[in-house]
C-alpha cells in the first residue's frame, strides 16, 4: 500500500516494451560503434560510444569516406542504455514478476545479466592495463601505460635511489606554468604537441613563429626540432602518437633554459633522459610513458618465438622469466606463454608481443578487480538458459508425441 504511488511511477520502467526498445537501441549503438572504430580505433570508440552517457553519431561513419556526408544524430551512450536496462530489469523483478519454480530459469538468466552489466561497469571504472617490455637478460621492475605520457623530473643526488616527480599529461597545456612545492623548479610549458615529428634542423634555420626555440638539452646537442602532426588514427598499428613538449625551466623568476622533451627520445636508448642544469645541481628530465613501479622485478631469461616451418606465422610465443620479490620472499622461474599467463599479487601478466629480432618480450599487465564477475555471471546465466529452454523443449517434445 505504501508503495502504490511509487509503484505507478515505476511500472512503465518495468515494461517489456521498454526492454524491447532498449535492446533495439543497444543494437544500434553497438552497430554504430563498430563502424566508428574504423577511423577512431577501439579505445577512442570505447570512450566515446560505450563508456559515455551520450554520443553524437555522424552519418559519415556508415558511408564511404570520400563522400564526406555531413550531419549526424545524438544518441544515448553505453552508460545510459546499460543503466536503463539495469533499472528495467530490476524494476521488472520488483513489480511484475512472479517468483515460482517455473520462472526459476528466467530469474537466473536475468541475474546473470545483471552481474555481467555490473562486471562491465566495474571493469570500465577500475581495470588498469599496462605493459612490461623486457630484453633478454634484462631485469625490469616497472610497467608502462602506453596510452599516456608524463613529464618526469628526476633528482639523482641520492646515491641509493632516484627521486622522481611526474607531471601528468593532463597538466601539459600550452602556456601553462606548473608550480608545485614538490618540483625542484617551475616548469613553463611553451608548447605541447600530442603528436609530433622530429627533424634535424641546421643551426641557422629561420624558425617559424609557432615553434618555440629551445636553447638547451637535446635540442641543441642533437640539433633536433619538433613539429606538430595530426594525431594518428589508432587503427594503423604502425603509427602511434609521439608527443613532444617545449618546456622552460624557471627558478627564482629566472629562465634557466628551454628544452625539447619528446617521447621519441625515451624510445631510442641512444638518447634517454636529458640533463637539466639548475645552479650546481643536475636533474634529469624526459617525456615518457607513465610508469608504475612494482615492489618486485621480472627478469627475462629466454624468449622463444616459434614459427610454422617455412612461414612467418607465429606458432607459439613464450617467455621464460624469473620473478623476484623480496617483500614476499619470492624467487622463482615462470614460463609465460599464449593462453597461459602469470597471476601475481592481483595482476595478471600475459604474453602480448615481442621486440624486434625476437630479442625481448612484451608482457601485458592487467589489474581488474572485477575479473571474477563475468565468470560467475556466465555460470548463472548458462544454468538459467538451460533450465528455461530445457523445460520448453521437454514440453514441446511431450506435446508432439501425444499429438
Amino acid at each position: 500500500m505504501s508503495g502504490s504511488p511509487i509503484r505507478a511511477l515505476i511500472k512503465p520502467l518495468a515494461s517489456l516494451r521498454l526492454t524491447v526498445a532498449l535492446l533495439a537501441c543497444s543494437i544500434f549503438l553497438i552497430f554504430a560503434g563498430t563502424w566508428a572504430q574504423i577511423d577512431m580505433g577501439i579505445w577512442t570508440t570505447l570512450g566515446t560510444y560505450f563508456r559515455a552517457f551520450f554520443v553524437w553519431i555522424p552519418f559519415r561513419i556508415f558511408l564511404p569516406r570520400h563522400w564526406d556526408v555531413p550531419g549526424g544524430i545524438p544518441f544515448p551512450g553505453g552508460w545510459v542504455i546499460g543503466g536503463l536496462l539495469m533499472i528495467n530489469l530490476v524494476t521488472a523483478h520488483a513489480v511484475r514478476f512472479r517468483y515460482n519454480r517455473k520462472r526459476a530459469g528466467i530469474l537466473l538468466i536475468h541475474f546473470g545479466l545483471i552481474l555481467l552489466l555490473v562486471g562491465e561497469l566495474v571493469t570500465g571504472l577500475k581495470a588498469h592495463e599496462s605493459r612490461m617490455s623486457i630484453d633478454e637478460g634484462q631485469t625490469v621492475d616497472f610497467a608502462e601505460d602506453t596510452r599516456s605520457v608524463e613529464l618526469v623530473i628526476i633528482d639523482p643526488s641520492d646515491p641509493a635511489r632516484d627521486w622522481v616527480v611526474a607531471i601528468p599529461e593532463s597538466r601539459l597545456h600550452q602556456g601553462k606554468l606548473i608550480h608545485d612545492t614538490r618540483l625542484p623548479f617551475d616548469v613553463q610549458v611553451e608548447a605541447y604537441f600530442h603528436n609530433a615529428e622530429l627533424f634535424e634542423g641546421a643551426q641557422d634555420v629561420a624558425t617559424s613563429a609557432a615553434t618555440p626555440v629551445a636553447n638547451s638539452g637535446f635540442a641543441v646537442e642533437l640539433g633536433a626540432h619538433a613539429r606538430p602532426r595530426p594525431p594518428s588514427s589508432g587503427v594503423d598499428q604502425d603509427e602511434i602518437d609521439l608527443p613532444a613538449a617545449y618546456v622552460s625551466v624557471l627558478k627564482d623568476g629566472r629562465n634557466l633554459g628551454t628544452y625539447l622533451a619528446a617521447l621519441y627520445f625515451t624510445l631510442v636508448p641512444r638518447f634517454g633522459l636529458q640533463d637539466v642544469q639548475v645552479g650546481d645541481k643536475t636533474y634529469r628530465m624526459a617525456l615518457r610513458y607513465v610508469r608504475h613501479y612494482k615492489p618486485y622485478s621480472i627478469s627475462l631469461l629466454d624468449f622463444k618465438h616459434d614459427r610454422y616451418l617455412g612461414t612467418e606465422t607465429p606458432r607459439n610465443f613464450s617467455s621464460h622469466i624469473r620473478l623476484v620479490d623480496p617483500t614476499h620472499n619470492e624467487n622463482r622461474e615462470v614460463l609465460i606463454y599464449m593462453n597461459n599467463p602469470l597471476r601475481y599479487r592481483g595482476e595478471t601478466f600475459y604474453q602480448a608481443s615481442f621486440k624486434q629480432g625476437d630479442g625481448g618480450t612484451v608482457l601485458q599487465v592487467v589489474r581488474n578487480p572485477g575479473w571474477l564477475l563475468p565468470y560467475v555471471a556466465c555460470t548463472v546465466g548458462a544454468l538459467g538458459m538451460m533450465l528455461q529452454f530445457g523445460t520448453h523443449l521437454l514440453r514441446f517434445i511431450r506435446r508432439t508425441r501425444t499429438a
Partner: protein
C-alpha cells in the same frame, strides 16, 4: 520484494551516478625509484615500442673515390665529406627519420624555406624533383637553387629522399651553387649505389578478439616484388655485365641472373637459368620459344640455324629466333654441363635484340663457371 526493494534501489542508483560523474584532476606523482643507468652505450638492438617496428633498418653504399665518411652523431646516421681536404668541408648528411612525412613535398618545402624560396604545390613537384628507380625503390632526387635572403647568400641543395621499409632516408648537401654544381652527377651516381637493408620485421599480435579465420600476422612474403620467397642458392657462374645492361635482383633459384636493356622505347630482357639434367629435344624447345614470341611452330630444324659457340671450354649452342613481321626476337645460348643445362636468353623488341646480337655473344663468351660446380 516490493516497496522495500524499491526504496533500496534509489540510493544505490544515486551513488552509481555520483561514481560515474565524479572525476578527479590528475595529480602530480612523486616516488622514489631504483637508479637508472644513464643512456650511455646502446644495448644490442634498440628496443622500440612493440607497436612500432623501426630502427634496425640501415643503408649501405659504395663510397666514391675521394669521398670520406664519418660516423653520425645524434640523429644523423652518417656524414660524408665530398672534399675531405678542403675547409670549410662539403658535407653530405645522411639522416633517417622514423615516421617522417612520407610525402616528399613537406620536406622539399622545408628545404626551400632554408634557402629562401617559397613553398610549392604538388603540381610543381616535377620541376624541382625527379623520381628514379634505385634497386626497386622510388627515390626523389632534388636540385634547387635558392635566393639571397636574411643575410644568407645564395645556396643550392642537392638532396635525395629514399623510402626504406621502416624509415625514410634523407641525403642532403647544401652549399654555394658552383661548388655543388661540380658534384651533381657524382651525387646521382652515388645515390644509385645506395641499398636499404634491415632485419626481420616484428609484428604486434592482435589484441582484439581472435578472428574466426586465421588472418595472417602480416604478409609472410613481401608482395612488393615479383621475386620468389627465397634468395638464390649457390651461384656457380660468373659474368661481366656489359655496359647499358642493368642487373636486377634474381627472382628465384632456377634463375641465376636477370638483366634488362633499355634503348628509348625498346626493351629487352636477359636471363640466365638452368634446369637439372638434360632438356627435351631441340625441336620441341625451338617450337616453344617460337610460340613465346607468337610464331607458328616448325616441322623440323632445317629453317633454324644453330651455331656452335665455345663457353668456358664447353661446346654450347647459339640460336637466334626471329621472323619477318614479328615484334620480338630471341637470342638463346644453351650450355650443357654435367648436372644442369644453362640457358642464356635474351628476349625483347625486335630491333633492339638485333642490335644487341654481338654484345650478347660477347657476354655469353665471357661466362665462366666455378671449378667443381656443375
Amino acid at each position: 520484494m516490493g516497496s522495500h526493494g524499491l526504496q533500496s534501489i534509489l540510493p544505490a542508483t544515486a551513488t552509481l551516478v555520483l561514481i560515474l560523474t565524479g572525476c578527479s584532476q590528475d595529480d602530480i606523482r612523486t616516488y622514489s625509484a631504483p637508479k637508472e643507468a644513464p643512456a650511455a652505450g646502446a644495448p644490442a638492438g634498440e628496443p622500440m615500442p612493440a607497436t612500432e617496428a623501426t630502427a634496425t633498418e640501415t643503408v649501405r653504399w659504395e663510397l666514391p673515390k675521394g669521398w670520406a665518411e664519418r660516423p653520425g652523431e645524434g640523429m644523423r646516421f652518417a656524414t660524408l665529406l665530398l672534399e675531405p681536404e678542403s675547409n670549410p668541408p662539403l658535407e653530405l648528411r645522411v639522416t633517417p627519420l622514423a615516421l617522417a612525412a612520407r610525402d616528399p613535398l613537406a620536406n622539399i618545402n622545408r628545404w626551400r624555406e632554408q634557402i629562401g624560396l617559397g613553398p610549392i604545390g604538388p603540381a610543381d613537384l616535377d620541376r624541382v624533383a625527379r623520381s628514379v628507380d634505385i634497386a626497386g625503390r622510388t627515390v626523389h632526387l632534388v636540385d634547387m637553387t635558392g635566393v639571397a635572403h636574411a643575410n644568407q647568400p645564395v645556396r643550392r641543395i642537392l638532396a635525395a629522399i629514399l623510402p626504406g621499409d621502416q624509415q625514410v632516408w634523407f641525403f642532403l648537401v647544401m652549399d654555394e651553387p658552383e661548388r655543388i654544381g661540380q658534384y651533381a652527377a657524382a651525387f646521382e651516381a652515388f645515390m644509385r649505389t645506395v641499398r636499404v637493408e634491415h632485419a626481420v620485421v616484428a609484428s604486434e599480435l592482435p589484441l582484439g578478439h581472435p578472428p574466426l579465420e586465421a588472418g595472417g600476422a602480416g604478409p609472410a612474403t613481401d608482395p612488393g616484388s615479383m621475386a620468389g620467397a627465397s634468395a638464390p642458392g649457390d651461384n656457380p657462374l660468373h659474368w661481366t655485365t656489359p655496359s647499358g645492361w642493368v642487373e636486377s635482383q634474381a627472382t628465384n633459384p632456377s634463375r641465376l641472373a636477370s638483366m634488362s636493356v633499355v634503348d628509348g622505347a625498346y626493351r629487352a630482357e636477359v636471363t640466365i637459368t638452368r634446369f637439372p639434367g638434360a632438356v627435351g629435344g631441340m625441336l620441341a624447345n625451338v617450337n616453344r620459344w617460337r610460340g613465346q614470341i607468337g610464331l607458328q611452330p616448325v616441322a623440323d630444324l632445317a629453317q633454324q640455324p644453330i651455331e656452335g659457340i665455345e663457353i668456358d671450354g664447353v661446346s654450347a649452342q647459339l640460336l637466334e629466333i626471329h621472323a619477318a613481321g614479328a615484334a620480338q626476337r630471341l637470342l638463346i645460348v644453351l650450355i650443357p654441363r654435367e648436372d644442369f643445362t644453362y640457358f642464356v636468353k635474351m628476349t625483347g623488341d625486335e630491333a633492339l635484340v638485333a642490335k644487341q646480337h654481338n654484345t650478347f655473344v660477347q657476354f655469353a663468351r665471357g661466362i665462366h663457371f666455378d671449378h667443381g660446380a656443375s
